[in-house]
């Protein structure tokens, strides 16, 4: 097997995990947790390992999951995503710190260009550049990559990797580190603390990963980025 082919096969294994993690962190930051979601994390030790403080939190033994959700997690979610922090890219990137909810939002333009449509009412957010939406967008791109890998569509793979890298670089990594550091500091439960930590670490690592893959498989395009 050539190194190139080996890497492709590896990517096929890795993509499922990328999909899972993007799904996990986007879901965590978009809507309040429910019992099913928490069960899904808890039943997979590897996922649970990403939430070490949560895993060891004594309160989980004292209270039922629904009590934890109502009395702790939802309170923290409201604090982090609705009240005190502003989880929108335009807030961090515009000089006037206004949330750009209309068609002039570059993130929205990007979604549109790629024929993706955000259902804001379902997402219950005011703008498409919400962290949860952007992370779910990466999840969608990874799902698309998975299909391209399965179809062995090399051009498609490169194009998707390129889009992913650009989106990470120009959008997510432009502002989420600051937001996630704030979220970590402001969080009042281990669930969101660990979740913010996980998202931050993962995004940084994923950017390196995508860059590396691009350089391995799609050299010409990768170098034009900078």
């Amino acid at each position: 097997m050539k190194a190139d082919e080996y890497n492709m096969d590896l990517m096929k294994q890795e993509i499922e995990n990328r999909i899972a993690i993007y799904a996990l962190i986007s879901r965590l930051m978009l809507v309040e947790v429910d019992e099913t979601f928490l069960e899904n994390i808890e039943k997979d030790e590897r996922l649970l390992a990403f939430f070490p403080n949560y895993r060891d939190w004594p309160k989980r033994k004292e209270l039922s999951t629904s009590e934890l959700i109502e009395q702790y997690y939802n309170v923290d979610f409201t604090n982090l995503f609705l009240m005190h922090l502003v989880p929108y890219e335009s807030f961090y990137t515009r000089d006037d710190q206004m949330i750009e909810s209309g068609g002039d939002n570059p993130v929205l333009e990007l979604y549109n260009d790629l024929d993706f449509r955000v259902e804001l009412d379902k997402a219950r957010v005011v703008s498409a550049d919400h962290i949860g939406v952007e992370l779910e967008f990466m999840y969608m791109l990874c799902t698309a990559l998975q299909k391209a890998l399965e179809a062995d569509d090399k051009d498609g793979i490169c194009e998707l990797l390129q889009v992913q890298r650009a989106f990470l670089k120009e959008h997510l990594l432009e502002w989420t580190p600051l937001f996630l550091i704030n979220a970590k500091r402001e969080s009042r439960t281990p669930l969101y603390h660990d979740g913010a930590e996980l998202a931050l670490e993962f995004l940084l690592s994923d950017f390196e990963y995508v860059t590396e893959k691009l350089s391995q498989h799609c050299e010409t395009t990768a170098t034009t980025e900078n």
């Binding site: 009412d121 949860g132 970590k184």
Partner: protein
């Protein structure tokens, strides 16, 4: 997070690199993801690019050229992501974002007097799809020079007022056989009403004698138009106009008239260094709230300071640089203290603080110094020690420096009950601002007190001395410089072609002989005068011909029963069909007064009528043009009315608003076809159209002619609409506002206009040979009617226009006031001892602290407006009532409350007692709120709340629905009255009343939330009914403030209860009238000085002449 959650956990960090390694997670991503994306684009991304999903600035506004058709995305749809995702809604794309095509019709707010520009957003999409034509929202008008696109809460409320679930849908008539106040109504039509009313007016006028000219009274609440209302009685040839001014601002106007012979002052807020507010009015709620507040904010942004003098910590006072809580009614002392220091002290560099350049040229000191007899009188009164030897300016300054020296810091601190440090700070700020001090002397003091006018009179003195009254930048100018009044001047469109002639009668009901100097009509005592047989007999015996009744009384957007003092006396008079034979209210909403009228004729609100309206809000002359939005929209879409003289009414019926009309078309129609159908009374020609005398004038004809009086407007209209027959009208219809002249400063210094050998002044030409200059430099000329007029003045060798007074200067010494029996008050003055306060009672407030002897005796401050409420019209605006809830507690200083054992929320009994007659009026039960926001000894409770109704709804025979009455704004009460005592008791909150009929039949789409009226409206009480009328002996205004006794309410008392001894109230009014006035007597030959304004009907010399036996 706690430290136990270690961020440096090495295992975790190691894990960082292992996100993707190893086997897959057991949970698939799809199970975890929220799934907010759709990947298939099933709609076009951007159908059109004309939308502005997120305007770049808050002040974004559609450009004027798009006003006839502007498409906007639906506000409710933003959550779905805009057109980018869903495209625009259409038949092919039903899930797209709704985009509504609007026509923006400019109009002006009609709620308060400021006349801020509005645009009515008329929904064309729904209409074109077969739905009803409706206004979806009201926004600002960015073209408006005064309001600059901005509005307060009341402006946007025009929408909820328009589609009020209890809107009066058609004209109503008191049911035949029922009595006034029984609340039985039948439906009538405008034509039936006009026929019956027109006949009554016709029959009254046909008699043609003097009394017939005094028997119809047009009583105007909120004019909000410049002069149209005046024309109504004027064209009828009657002296029949009553304004609401004497419960509003007549006190301030009196003080201003004495100085300037102008109606009011007009500040330049924007350029001031010190904003000096007496009361919260200008910046909190009233003249001219939103515009004044914006200009004040502009000035503060540039560094101006704000001082608010008010016993109550208002919104303005709360954000001021200095709050000056002064005992109500003693403000005069404080102003004279400022004058004293300006006259007797020097500036930091040893310079005089008096602006001699201004005072010497522009104050009538020379007239005073020549009047040696009067100077001797001042010595006799002990105002000065001796008559100055000479008559020079320097001696004048020296004399008044002595005259005002008793107004010391010690005196003012004692008299005004104010801390010395605040007084001194105020003085420093006043001096620091130089001549750039702007003020608007209007509400509060001048309308609250006996002698309130002297507060205004004295207030201007320090401004004059500092040169701030020169009408220059950042200072104070005058009203008539900055206002446009052409609404009643469409004469050229009428068959007559000219204004009606002067009227030959003097109506004692509006202008009783006790009040020859009253600033405006004495309308607040109209029912008292009508019912005072003794008074009438007295004057008839002296040779007058006083009306004993009115044939027709016409309130217009007015609710005197509720807003005037002594409401039970009003009800008593209105119920008397022998005193008021017929009455009809031109009223956009239900009101307490409507209940006692014979007809209720529904007229339009802000976007449902025509008016030209202008106010002096800044040193420029702008106007608003009010448009009926639905009519304009229909006409622009090609609709034509059957009768062009009734287009507004027809349009409102077509658009489902109801049979709502407007005054301009109504009056033109009733006059032409019903009051004087054959022209025999000489009235018809003033309303019949010149183009077609068989009908009355149309709106385009009237306003084309009216606006012809404005040269700049006329020129611009001609240029913009070259092919139009009515360019003036069309331009104003399309823009809604016009700036005729900007930056008007110091017009008194303008050279007197001269063309050839003729001087031009006040619209007349005078040959130079006829112009005479007197010893003071005043230029007088005699006009064609033999009337001598002061037309200008010589200043520094130049002939200039001067001020509007007889002396053409500012009258420090008001000579005519001396001649009209009040010599002791012909200059700004105030008593300094208790003994003098008794002698000079006419200028000492009825709530002076001299009268407060016990811990539970207080001055009640009633004159402040609530920012979100406006008299009557806002009562059923959901939007505004949700904010106000009819809530109106009594503010009491915390220490006072402690002494009386009163806590927040306690029901308290407030008994009103009069300090002139010594009589009690009764009490109202209210809610107490102890606060540091009112000064010790002074309670505060606005007289702008306490609405009530006696029925929740009325049934109209033959009409399927009940008509609701003030359902969201006035709770239900039970009333008793027996001619002497009246009571009111709350029986049901308005939330309860509304629950019973939450499924309204009218304007359902706008009123889906009536089940959510959560406020009961039961925390205010109708204090106005308890208050007796206090006619000021000189200015004639009602002096609003009351001496009250406060105690905890009894266990059977409920907040909202009132008990009124209105028999006593009649005696209180009589005491004020008989003990305090100086009526006309046999020495008088005139009813009133001819040179001061005598609103609003021009009268002949014959009418002015009087002979008292």
């Amino acid at each position: 997070m706690t430290k136990s959650m270690n961020n440096e956990n090495p295992a975790f960090l190691e894990g960082r690199r292992s996100f993707l390694k190893g086997t897959a997670y057991s949970v698939a991503g799809a199970t975890l993801a929220a799934g907010v994306f759709k990947t298939v684009a099933d709609t076009p991304a951007m159908a059109e690019t004309k939308f502005t999903p997120t305007p770049k600035t808050l002040s974004f506004y559609p450009p004027l050229e798009e006003w006839n058709s502007f498409t906007e995305l639906d506000g409710d749809d933003w959550k779905r992501g805009g057109t980018s995702r869903n495209g625009v809604q259409s038949e092919d794309n039903p899930d797209g974002i709704k985009a509504t095509e609007y026509m923006l019709v400019p109009t002006a707010c009609s709620n308060c007097e400021a006349s801020c520009g509005l645009t009515a957003w008329v929904d064309l999409s729904t209409y074109k799809a077969g739905g009803q034509l409706a206004v979806r929202k009201y926004m600002g008008n960015p073209l408006h020079a005064g309001s600059r696109g901005r509005n307060c809460a009341k402006g946007y409320a025009a929408q909820s007022q328009m589609y009020d679930p209890d809107r009066i849908p058609f004209p109503l008539k008191r049911a035949p056989g029922s009595k006034r106040g029984e609340g039985k109504w039948v439906r009538t039509t405008w034509d039936e009403a006009m026929k019956e009313i027109g006949q009554k007016m016709h029959d009254t006028l046909k008699v043609g004698d003097e009394m017939s000219k005094k028997s119809i009274m047009y009583h105007v609440g909120r004019p909000n138009e410049n002069g149209f209302g005046h024309r109504v009685p004027h064209s009828l040839g009657i002296d029949g106009y009553d304004s609401h001014t004497n419960i509003c601002s007549a006190g301030a106007r009196q003080g201003t008239i004495q100085w300037t012979n102008d109606d009011r002052n007009s500040p330049d807020w924007s350029n001031a260094k010190l904003i000096f507010l007496q009361s919260s009015h200008a910046a909190d709620a009233g003249h001219y709230f939103q515009q004044a507040a914006g200009r004040i904010a502009d000035a503060r942004k540039k560094g101006a300071k704000l001082v608010v003098m008010d016993p109550r910590m208002s919104n303005s006072a709360g954000m001021a640089d200095l709050w000056v809580p002064c005992w109500p009614g003693t403000e005069t002392a404080l102003y004279l203290y400022l004058a004293n220091r300006i006259l007797n002290e020097k500036g930091l560099n040893g310079e005089d603080l008096v602006n001699h350049n201004f005072v010497k040229n522009w104050v009538n000191w020379d007239h005073l110094m020549k009047d040696r007899e009067y100077l001797a009188y001042l010595v006799e009164k002990k105002y000065i020690k001796s008559v100055p030897a000479g008559d020079t300016y320097e001696e004048f300054i020296e004399m008044i420096a002595e005259m005002y020296s008793p107004y010391t810091l010690d005196f003012v601190a004692e008299e005004c009950r104010i801390e010395k440090r605040i007084v001194e700070k105020l003085y420093d700020m006043f001096i620091d601002a130089g001549a750039r001090v702007a003020t608007y002397i209007w509400r509060a003091g001048p309308i609250g007190h006996k002698g309130g006018w002297m507060i205004a009179r004295s207030a201007f003195l320090p401004f004059v001395l500092r040169g701030a009254m020169a009408g220059d930048k950042g200072g104070v100018g005058l009203h008539h410089w900055h206002v446009i009044s052409v609404n009643g001047k469409g004469n050229a469109a009428t068959e007559a072609g000219v204004a009606p002639g002067k009227v030959d009668a003097w109506n004692e009901i509006a202008w009783p002989p006790e009040y020859p100097l009253s600033s405006y009509e004495m309308s607040h005592i109209m029912p008292h005068l009508l019912m005072d047989d003794e008074w009438r007999a007295k004057w008839n015996a002296k040779g007058l011909n006083v009306p004993e009744k009115l044939a027709v009384w016409i309130p217009r957007m007015y609710n005197p029963v509720w807003i005037n003092p002594d409401g039970f006396r009003w009800i008593e008079a209105l119920k008397r069909e022998d005193k008021i034979e017929m009455s009809f209210n031109l009223s956009p909403t239900w009101s307490e007064t409507n209940w006692y009228c014979d007809f209720i004729l529904p007229v339009g609100l802000a976007g449902e009528r025509h008016d030209q309206h202008s106010e002096a809000t800044q040193p420029s002359r702008w106007l608003s043009f009010r448009n009926p939005a639905l009519r304009v929209a229909l006409e622009k879409m090609g609709w034509k009315p059957k009768d062009p003289t009734r287009a507004t009414l027809e349009a409102h019926i077509k658009a489902g608003l109801g049979e709502v009309w407007e005054e301009v078309e109504f009056w033109a129609n009733i006059m032409t076809h019903y009051v004087d159908p054959d022209g025999s009374l000489g009235v018809r020609k003033y309303w019949a159209s010149k183009e077609d005398p068989t009908r009355c004038v149309t709106i385009p004809e009237w306003y084309q002619a009216a606006f012809d009086n404005l040269p700049n407007l006329k020129k611009a209209a001609k240029a913009s609409y070259p092919d139009s027959k009515y360019p003036n009208y069309e331009m104003m219809r399309d823009r809604g506002t016009w700036l005729e002249e900007d930056n008007i400063f110091k017009p008194q210094e303008r050279p007197l206009k001269k063309v050839g050998e003729n001087y031009i002044a006040h619209g007349h030409e005078y040959h130079e040979s006829e112009v005479v200059k007197d010893e003071f430099g005043v230029l007088t000329a005699t006009d064609a009617h033999g009337k001598e007029e002061a037309i200008g003045i010589e200043i520094d060798g130049e002939f200039v226009e001067g001020f509007h007074t007889l002396t053409k200067k500012l009258d420090f010494y008001c000579e005519w006031f001396k001649e009209w029996k009040w010599p002791e008050y012909a200059i700004p003055i105030y008593p300094t001892t208790k003994e003098d306060r008794v002698k000079m009672t006419h200028i000492v407030t009825q709530v002076h602290h001299d009268f407060m002897q016990k811990d539970n005796e207080f001055a009640l401050n009633t004159v402040f407006r609530l920012p979100y409420n406006i008299h009557t019209r806002s009562v059923n605006s959901k939007h505004l009532m949700e904010i106000s809830q009819n809530h109106n507690p009594v503010w009491i200083y915390t220490e006072d409350a402690k002494k009386l054992g009163i806590k927040r929320g306690d029901a308290v009994k407030v008994t009103i007692t009069d300090t002139v007659s010594g009589l009690d009026s009764g009490y109202f039960i209210a809610m107490a709120v102890p606060t540091e926001g009112t000064m010790p000894g002074v309670l505060a409770c606005s007289h702008h709340a306490g609405r009530w109704k006696l029925k929740n709804a009325v049934e109209i025979p033959g009409f399927e629905h009940k008509l609701g009455i003030m359902g969201v704004g006035a709770p239900l009460y039970e009333m008793t009255m027996d001619g002497k005592v009246g009571t009111l008791k709350p029986t049901e909150g308005l939330n309860e009343g509304m629950q019973a009929r939450k499924d309204t039949w009218q304007f359902k789409e706008y009123n889906k939330d009536l089940d959510n009226i959560w406020w009961d409206g039961l925390s205010g009480s109708w204090q106005n009914a308890v208050a007796p009328s206090h006619p000021d002996p000189i200015a004639g205004n009602h002096a609003w403030h009351q001496k009250v006794i406060m105690e905890l309410a009894g266990k059977d008392d409920k907040i909202g209860d009132i008990y009124v001894n209105y028999e006593n109230n009649m005696k209180v009014y009589q005491a004020w009238r008989d003990d305090l006035t100086r009526p006309l007597d046999s020495t008088d030959t005139l009813r009133r000085p001819k040179h001061i304004k005598r609103p609003c009907v021009p009268l002949s010399d014959k009418a002015y002449a009087v002979n008292i036996k």
